[in-house]
Structure formats: structure tokens, C-alpha cells
Symmetry: none
């Protein structure tokens, strides 16, 4: 029986190696070494090098989606959820910088080099934001003239660019939590409906 823990060991090693060198500059042999297995062992658990990256997306992103949904479920309205999304996203990044680096950098690359591969978990992650925006619009908290599909990308892009900077920079000038608050605050104020602006007990 194949060993589930070995699958994980290789995936974790891949995160480390990919985050350090990038996918294309990483050698399968380096991942094997990092995982303390033989080169050939990799191929007992993954079809090929691409499959390692794809599995990484699928499995790690799925976890993140699950966690994010659980976090947001505890918030009572869309505005709180937006704030929570920002905090949680950047918290994940700061706690799993290697993973964040791989995701942030390779998720784009992947769309190019694996033309056929659709990163479903990534799309789902984006759609969490979309759902929140729609919910907010229905409840009258968010402006109805904003397109959810545009907002999900704008918000994600804003957080992600910040995350990338934070992960790559060695100096960590800005506090990542403070950044999360500022970004969500700008989006919330910017997307808020006129009525909500009057009645909503703001700032939180």
C-alpha cells in the first residue's frame, strides 16, 4: 500500500523547493532530496513534475478554501466578511510563506504553461469573494452598480500583490495585519451603499 505520509512529505518538500527557486528552476532531484526519498520514489506518487504542482494547487488550495469558508461563516454580514477575508488571507500568507509564494507566483504561470489545466480551486477561492459581494448587494450593504466579478478580482489582486511584497521582502516594513485592515477598509468604504453609510455602525 502506498504511503499517504510520503505523498505529503513530497508535497511539502516541493513547496519549499518551488518557493525557493520557482517551478522551472527546481529539479525533481532537489525535491527528492528535500523529502528524503529517492528520485524514482517521486514517480510512485506523482505522474510527473507538472503533476506535483497541480496536486499542490488542488490539495493546498482546497484546504485554504475550506478554512476561509469556515472563517467567513462566523461573520454576520458581508462587510465583516470582507474584513475577515483580508485578515485571514494575509494571515495564511504570513503563516505559510513558502506556500503563499508558490501559489502567488506559480498560479499565474500555470495558466500559461498548462493550457489545458483549469485551476478550479483557485477559481473557487475567488468566488468566495464574489459570493460575499452578491450577499452584500442583496442585503443592501453594498452598491449594486459594482460588478461582483470585477470586485472579486480587484479585491483578491489587492491582497495578493500586498502578500507577494510581504513574502518577498526581507525587511517587512509594513505590518501585514495593518495592511489587511487598510485594504479591507478601503474596499468596504468604497463598495458600501449610501444607505449603509448612514446606518451601519462604522467603523467596526
Amino acid at each position: 500500500m502506498k504511503d499517504e505520509s510520503k505523498h505529503q512529505k513530497i508535497l511539502q518538500a516541493a513547496i519549499k523547493v518551488f518557493s525557493e527557486k520557482g517551478f522551472y528552476n527546481s529539479r525533481v532531484s532537489e525535491i527528492a532530496k528535500e523529502a528524503n526519498v529517492a528520485d524514482g520514489t517521486i514517480y510512485l506518487y506523482f505522474k510527473n513534475k507538472d503533476d506535483i504542482l497541480i496536486s499542490l494547487f488542488e490539495e493546498e488550495f482546497a484546504k485554504i478554501v475550506r478554512d476561509m469558508r469556515a472563517e467567513l461563516a462566523r461573520e454576520k454580514d458581508a462587510l465583516q466578511k470582507i474584513k475577515r477575508f483580508a485578515i485571514t488571507h494575509l494571515s495564511i500568507v504570513s503563516h505559510h510563506p513558502h506556500l503563499a509564494e508558490v501559489m502567488g507566483v506559480e498560479v499565474r504561470q500555470s495558466t500559461k504553461f498548462m493550457k489545458e489545466y483549469v485551476n478550479q480551486p483557485f477559481i473557487e477561492y475567488l468566488n468566495i469573494i464574489r459570493s460575499v459581494v452578491i450577499e452584500g448587494q442583496e442585503k443592501g450593504l453594498l452598491r449594486k452598480d459594482l460588478t461582483p466579478g470585477v470586485m472579486k478580482r480587484a479585491f483578491f489582486g489587492a491582497l495578493d500583490e500586498m502578500a507577494r511584497y510581504w513574502v518577498l521582502s526581507t525587511k517587512k516594513k509594513h505590518s501585514i495585519d495593518e495592511a489587511a485592515l487598510q485594504i479591507s477598509d478601503v474596499f468596504i468604504r468604497g463598495m458600501m451603499s449610501e444607505e449603509a453609510r448612514k446606518t451601519y455602525p462604522w467603523p467596526s
Copy 2:
């Protein structure tokens, strides 16, 4: 003197090829073919394959920075400049989709494979936004509690993620101009100071 036009021809070919296949899946010979020169000729104008990408960033981003500065100079205040930045950025993207694709996708990758290479023009581009934010804060139009260094990344990230989607998607569901307006609108409202909200003749 080296032939300036051939340098350009190769760079334009590289943009096309990189945008189609990504940097790592592009072959130097493909660029040569696209540029109608011999493989070896590439090496008369560029040190190596990496240097093509670096030159591409340097030169193309420099142009963009110049153009963007010129555009913003014609706007009278920070709020207008923010709007103009969004419109111009996405306009560049829609008019130069190949370039945008390379910039958007490879700019991240590049920071990994060229650790030492600091993408100065890219930083300058970001700092255009930073300057606008600072200007807005000084003029009392923008909230002073927002960190310009955070805002520049958030705003750029929002636009860039939108751009990437637009460039990669074949269906072009959302109008890119409409998206530019929505995103700048959200940022402007979100970053606006309380006084400006009362006095500024809004919406533009």
C-alpha cells in the same frame, strides 16, 4: 554601432513568443524565427535569454512609466489622477495584450529566477501611484491614515489582476473600461478623506 532596429525587432518577437508560451517554454530559436534573424544573431544584441526578458522589462516599462506620467500630468488633482491611472493602465493592457501578458505573468516569476535583479522600472511604476497618494494626502483629499506604500500595491494589484483576467480570458465578459472605472471609483471613495467627501464635486 549595433543595429537599433534589430534590437527592437528581437524584443518585439520576444514579447510575442513569451506571451504565447511563457518565458520558460519559449525557445530562443523561436524568437529568432519570429524576428527573422539567425539564432546566433540574438547573442549579438543580448547577453543571454534572461537578458532578453530583463531588457524587455527595462525598456518597455520605461516607456509605460513615461506615458503614464504624461497622462497623469494633465489631471488636476489626486482623485482624477487615480481614475486616470486606472483607465490608462487598462488601456495599455488592452492595446498591448502580448506585452501585458508577459509583464503580468513574468514579473512575478522573474523576481524568483533573477533574485539579484531588481525591477527598477516596475518599482518606479508603482511609485507613481505612491506619489499620487501622498499628493492627495497633502492636499487633504485622501485619508492620512492610509499607508501610501500599502495603497500603491493594493491599487496596482487590483488593476493588474483584472488585467490578467482580461488578457487571458477569451470571452472578455466585462468591458475593460468599465472595470477601470469601477475599480478606481471604489478606491477613490474608499481612500477619500471625510472633508473631501463633503466638498469634492463628486461623482466626477
Copy 3:
């Protein structure tokens, strides 16, 4: 005591797999699967992959040699034996096409990849023909100017090439029995001594 039946099971599996893919394109794991044993089990019965092929030659050819000798013993003279050899050879082929395929194709290859290995059973098989030729010459039935060592190869080669065609072709245009008769007939007439031609009650 090693399990004799498992040894056989592996050998039969090997015949099947080798005949389908050829020795070099066959995987030890495929043989194991075909034989319903674990990969490692193969190595309890055979030294290595080469040894499977060698054993196959040794054991299967030994059977064939035994059977052929028994068949020929029932014929009264060299001419009848030549005919019988052809019929029996091609009958074996048509009843054991997998085995024939392996023998026909790999027996040659084997001499190349196992420089040191002398395929003794194969030589013995050829020498059955040689004995028949010598016997015929001694009895005055066959021309004495023919070299038995040349004739054994010519006759075997003729039958074998026919067999290979028959095994590989899907259409089976020529009846294999008819071919056996034609080939032996040509050889008998061609090798017959002048006296025999006058006295021998021909055609058989």
C-alpha cells in the same frame, strides 16, 4: 523446495509478454502481473530478466527437441524424416504461436545481448536436421556433395522464415501445412541423390 508450478507460471507469462512486446520492451513487472505474482517473486525463481529468457530457451527448446526426436524416430528414412521435420516444426509453431514468436525473434537477438550465452538447445535442434542429412547421405538417399552443416541451416532457415511470417501475419494467407509440404518437397527433391531419384517411390 521451490515451487515448481510457480516457476512454470512465470515462464508461461514471460512467453506471452515477450511475444507481445519483445524482450526489451517487456517489463519484469508485466510478467509478474501476467503470472499473478509479486515483482519480487520473480527473483526467487530467476536470477534476473535475462535468465528468464535463457530458461525459456533451455526448457522449452528441450521439450521441442525431445518431441521432434520422438516424431522423427517413427519415420523410416531420411526423406520421410525431412518431411516430418517440416510438418512438425510448423505444427509446433501453429499450436504455440507465442512461443514460436519468442523463439524466432529473440533467438537471434539473444546471441547479441548475451555474448557469452550459447544456446545449446537451439544448436541441438539444428543438429537434428544435420543428423538426418548425414543419415540420408550414408544410406545413399541424399547427395554426398552437400555439406550437412549448410543444409541444416538452410532447411531450418527456410522453415523459420515461413513460420515467422505465419505467426506475425494476421491474414494467414498460406496454409501453414501446405507450406510445410512445399518446403520439404523442394528440399527433398533438391537434396536427393540421382540413384534415389530413380528408385525411390516418389512422390511420397
Copy 4:
């Protein structure tokens, strides 16, 4: 412009290496070394390792077919042509033992491992014999009860098995020319029609 002589140089090197080790035990790097070119150069002239073998069949067999046809054209009847075929075939073998070895050994293997590849030149070579047999039958020199398609294989097989032995054996007991004469003599006598036997000025 690609160099035609280099193509040839690689092919000749391949013949040598394949004949020594067999196709599967030959390394592309060994061929490169033997041809005094870099490993990569091989791939400028051949698609892959298989393609070297296929090219070798195509080009070398084509030459042989051409030469054999020219040789036979000079003979006046089918019986002479059969004799000439045997002499020429074994002469080619003795003058190009490496090539003969590759052809003899790999031509079989190839039909198995390159399922899709039909060795057209080999088929043509066989059909030279077939044409001769048909010609002989039409002229009344050869028995009409013999199937040309069976005879072509029998005759080729006889010669080929002899050739293989001669090529592989180090001792060269039998003279190859003598063997050619004996084999063609047996086939001619065996295939001759009754009338020809009476009227044909035999032995030649």
C-alpha cells in the same frame, strides 16, 4: 545547410554499433562517439534513436534492392537468377558483415517493437525472389505447384540463416560462396519443372 556526409557518417557509425551490441544495447552516445560528432548532432539528422534504425533499413536496403536488381538483370533465365541471387546475397553479407548483422537481427525485432512501421524495402527485397519464381513458372522452368509467396520466404530464410551463422561465427568453417552454390543448387533442383530437368543444360 545540413551536411549529407554527416548523415551518412552517423548511419555508418550506427551500423557498426548496432551490429556489435544490438539496437537495444546500443547507446546513442556510442553512435555519436563512433561518428565523431556530439550527442546532440545526432538529433539534427534523425528524429530519435528509432529513426536511426528505420533510416538505416530504408536507405541501406534500398541500395541492396537496387544492386540485386541490377545483378539479376544480367542473368538470362529464372534458374540463373536464383543462383545469382544466392551468390549476390551472400556476397553482400560477406562484404558488409556489420550491415548484414543489423539487417538480419534487427529486421525481425523491428517488426515487433515498431508495430506501425512496415519495412517496405525488406518486403521489396523478398519480392525480387517472388518475381523470379513467377517468371520461372511462366517460362515453364519452375514447377507450377509451388506458391511463389512461400518460396520467396523459404529461399530468403535459407540464405539468411546461413548468412547469420557466417557473420556470427568466428571460425568461418564453411566457405560462404560454397554455401551459396549449395543452397541455390538445392532450390533450383527442388523447384525445377520436370520438362526443364530433361532439357535444361544442367548443371550450369
